[in-house]
């Protein structure tokens, strides 16, 4: 585990390439802050028993979501796991809708029908958050197949964790995408732990995703998942390749989650000092410093942070005021006709 952090720190994954343009950089920063604030807020609301059930937070993993989202075009499709709040927010879904869904309110993204693990906004290209490990990798292949078949230029981006690399559907999907040369990019967020167990103990090779790439004829790609710009560059390159008919890519982002696997997990299995070490490489800390370095005024940065906080406060109040979902939602949308009839 120590070697993981030092590899990331040394920037071994950094892609030498274009400088991220300043407008885009501000946008990325805003995304990072919004994700952080929203996830923190979700944490607090859970403690207040306003967010029920379970929640899988991305605190510490914001840069992967923000960097990839920045590289996506409108029309590109993203698929993520139950740890999907970050990916949903990064694609522009209003935070009020996300919090509303977590709180089971009528103003939620799916009006309370799906919950935290299934955030979906077709309008924004967020084609679902999937709670069964690995299920969405072949689904992303299918969406990419459609683009290929119809000659459309969108890319399907599929996010998953390190644990997913050991399940059957991962292997089926990688092989499938490779042989059909589908415009799909697989992004593995390696946060070192597969639920409560270190991934290294559970995987036959050192790099759970990149270590499997060659099995499918793909290049191993590892990137510092805490550096949003690094993620951005690597992602953009992979998306361009897919878009131009070059086929799929598999990207492994080295990252870390501050909280437990889910809200119910206090993560006592971490070794002493590991969390503190990773907090030194906090994505927002890194990006903030880089903005200041590149000449962005502190006031501009602070304004973004204030805006986001206000947005979150407003969203929280709106969600608290919103009522529960209407009872008749129980019976809607089982079938395409809007109903649930299984008999005549």
């Amino acid at each position: 585990m120590g070697s993981q952090t030092s590899r990331a720190e040394s920037g071994a994954a950094a892609v030498v390439g274009e400088k991220v343009d300043s407008q885009l950089a501000l946008r990325i920063f805003r995304l990072l802050v919004e994700i952080r604030e929203a996830e923190q807020r979700a944490y607090d609301l859970f403690l207040q028993n306003l967010v029920k059930g379970t929640s899988h937070l991305s605190l510490g993993q914001e840069a992967v979501a923000a960097g990839c989202a920045a590289a996506m075009r409108p029309g590109d499709l993203s698929f993520c796991t139950y740890r999907g709040h970050a990916h949903t927010l990064a694609r522009g879904v209003p935070v009020e809708k996300v919090l509303g869904e977590l709180m089971g309110r009528d103003n939620g993204l799916m009006r309370g029908k799906g919950g935290s693990m299934h955030l979906t906004s077709v309008e924004h290209g967020v084609m679902g958050s999937y709670a069964i490990i690995g299920a969405h990798l072949p689904i992303a292949c299918g969406a990419a197949w459609r683009a290929q078949y119809k000659g459309q230029s969108d890319v399907s981006v599929c996010f998953f964790g390190d644990g997913t690399t050991n399940i059957g559907a991962f292997h089926e999907a990688l092989n499938f995408a490779a042989i059909w040369k589908l415009p799909v990019v697989f992004v593995c967020e390696n946060n070192l732990y597969m639920e409560y167990t270190p991934i290294a103990d559970m995987t036959a090779v050192k790099d759970p995703a990149a270590g499997r790439a060659s099995a499918y004829g793909l290049e191993p790609i590892i990137v510092d998942g805490q550096d949003a710009d690094a993620v951005y560059r690597v992602a953009k390159k992979a998306f361009d390749k897919a878009r131009s008919g070059g086929g799929p890519s598999l990207i492994e982002c080295l990252t870390y989650r501050y909280s437990g696997h889910s809200r119910a997990d206090p993560a006592k299995y971490r070794p002493e000092g590991e969390l503190e070490r990773w907090k030194q490489r906090d994505p927002i800390k890194i990006y903030r410093a880089r903005l200041l370095d590149s000449g962005v005024a502190e006031s501009v940065i602070a304004q973004i942070e204030t805006d986001v906080k206000q947005k979150l406060d407003k969203a929280t109040e709106a969600c608290k005021a919103a009522g529960p979902p209407a009872d008749d939602l129980i019976w809607t949308d089982v079938y395409a006709d809007g109903g649930w009839a299984w008999r005549n």
Partner: protein, 428 residues
Amino acid sequence: MDVLMPQLGETVDEGKVLVWYKKVGDQVEPGENLFEIETEKVSMEVPSTVAGTLQEIRVQVDETAPVGAVVAVIAEKGAQPAASAPAPTTEETPTSQAAAQRAAAPSASPAPAVASPAYVARKQEPFKEVFTPERNYGPAKVGGVETTPYARRLASEQGVNLSSLRGSGPNGRIVAKDIEAQRGKAAQSQIKALYEAGTYTEQPVDAMRRAIARRLTESKQTIPHFYLTIDLDVDALLAVREGRNSALPSQATAKLSVNDLIIKAWGMALHAVPRANAVWAEDSILQFNRSDVGVAIAVDGGLVTPVVRSADTKSVWDISRDVKDFAARARGKKLKAGDLQGGVSAISNLGMYGVREFSAIINPPQSTVLAVGAVQRRPVEKTDGGVRFATLMTVTLSCDHRVVDGALGAELLAALRDIVQQRAETLG
């Protein structure tokens, strides 16, 4: 509406009436107590759920009835007096305490069968994806005898007392056909009850009698009958018969009867009026290109009507032979189903009994039947105002108005008259 014995506990299957708070003829309002019942452990007042008049009480004080049995009938306000069973006669009311205790709601006379409406599926509702029947029809086992659910329902709808039945199902289970049989028996016992015992002997009813009862009841109930009568002058017809028979060798037994000639004439008449040579087939009318005519033949205990095919073109001799053969086989019970099937019309002749005139009942699926009376000498007016005697035969045509209207029936009879009176010699 029927007031039923309620279920006063989960394992209870009968209740005893303790008190009646109302009497027959009283007005009742919803919520007013009608009677009080008692089971092994508890007693309860039973209120009315409707407004109306208490029309009938079937379970009296101190009598017991099974759960679900009809205890009373209320004629609801604004509704017609309940069409269900009229009060039973005194013969039917159990007279002994023991009988009462054996849970007898007095057997009601059979209500007209409440035809169950055809099944209509309903759209599923939230938390109600399958629909439980709205009411129950009593316990599955009463007095040690099982009843199928369908039989229980039939018994309730038709007012049949389950405790009086023996079941024909497995383990003596009462099944639907036992209820249907009981309905018939109940009707029979109702009728017998109207007559003094000892004044009659009961004759069994065989399959032929049952078939006649069923078919002719159905005919009268479903076919709109009307009747046309004419008198035929049969001098010419009788002369033709005489002539044909006298041309036979003297030992010949195969002599023509008047009826043989009438069958031929009728066949020709039908053929001459094609629109009457037809039968009703629900969505269409079948118009035949030949005329098959049924001939009513009396047999021991009943009547059969075998069909002479192609009576319009067959020779009278062949017709005669057919009829004699049918009669012989009918008496020997050797007729086949095919002999009795089809036909567009039939002839029934009671002339040999001296019957002057009668109307017959149409045999479905045929559309007419010709009732032939006796040949009689009757006075008729002469053209110059005097009186003479003519040889007349009265025939009455019963018509199915769905196929044969009045004018068409009259046309058909006119064709017959024309053949019989003007062209008898063509009956060959």
